[in-house]
Amino acid sequence: MEQLEFNFRKDTFSKIFPFYILLDTNLFIKSYGNSIPKIIPELKKTLFKDNFSISRPHIEEYSTNQFNTIINQLVILKSNYTDETILRGQFEIIDEGYLFVGSPWFVSIDEVVQKNLSINDFAFHDSLLDILHVSKNYEINYNDLKELLKTVNEQRNILKKDKEELNKLSLVARANKNGVVIFDTKGIISWCNDAYLNIVGLPLNKIIGSSIHDFEPDKRYDPIEIESILNEFEKGVIFNNEKTTISPDGKKIWFKTIKQPVRDADGKILNYFAVIEDITSEKEKEENGNNSAVTNESIPQP
């Protein structure tokens, strides 16, 4: 079987493995890749052990016998000049010498920058920079999620406060002696209190989803008049009127109704609410007062 051989010029080999280190049989550094001096400017073509120490795997001594035991293993080298510089790779026996091929090991892109390395100092096939970038993306994502969690918590607190406020308002509206009813700009009722149920004289399920114009004191029959009022609702017009109705027992009842829109922060109409107040007793007093005045006026004064 034909044995393939790969022969490279030094420059080409350095382009493929810019951090290679070639040792002779006496374990002297014979040659190294173009990017090595950038991370170890002090590097000399002297004994390997004067420049590097092998962190992993452990060897007893720096001899060819011991080097032969670490072939086919991941090797971690440290520069003797600075603890910060680590190379990871492997040794291969070549022409009775030893060839180390590998890359520097960094855990963040900032370390790459500290060593003044650029993308041109790495072989294209070396994925270190890409892995560091992906790792950076995870860090950014983690920070995003922390920020999102903070936002969600803030919003939850705001919602909690709003809900508490809403509950208070709801209690006030629910317990109000006046009729309170909420409806949309089409007049369709979505909520009302017990006082409104008493005014209308119907249960809740007959009221929700019906039009405010189906019931007294706002009952309307003329479709043209209803259409006109709905148009006014769309415009956000405030209504303020009084009307009399006759109760089932034949009594005349006066109601004062105020209808006004509820808007969002941008001024968009969310819905309408109406407060319906029974003003019969005031009206009766008024009428009695008027009658008394008329009576008084009719009595000749001494």
Binding site: V112, L117, S118, H133, V134, K136, I140, D144, L148
Partner: protein, 180 residues
Amino acid sequence: MYGIVNKAIEELVISNFGKDKWEIILAKSGIEHSFFISNETYDDAITYQLAQTISQEMNMSIDDVMIAFGEWWVVKTTRDKYSGLMQTGGSNLKQFLINLPVFHNRIMLHYPKLTPPEFKISHIEERNLCLHYFSKREGLQEFVRGLIQGLGIIYTAEIKIELLKSRSDGSDHEIFKISW
């Protein structure tokens, strides 16, 4: 687009015009997202809608919005979030631009769900070169102009940008001549 793009737009608006203005822009754009996660993908339409709304709200042309955003992307976003990576791109403007194609080809590895544009460099002279921009997306050529202007800012180089060819003139890509 990845969320990081929309986040950058948000930061650009907030830094220059305040959070209230961003809330207005977000509301007027009709976008339901109130938070963008950098590594999540979002519909391109969201980014275009944001740019459109900023243009209307700030009374700026859409081209000016894209240029401002391109500058911001380089000067602020990449510097804040990827400063180390940017520095590995080169120590001066020329070196960075020459490395840009290789630099950018890596982006598709970092963002696998992205359809990234492709850059090529030609006619490299002492003080100018041509940058070729290939993209499947329309309407981002002024964003690229902003990116180049941003690089001029971070490398403190006075630059001149000429659009030599454009898809709007029938070419299949844009060619910018950059001089410094």
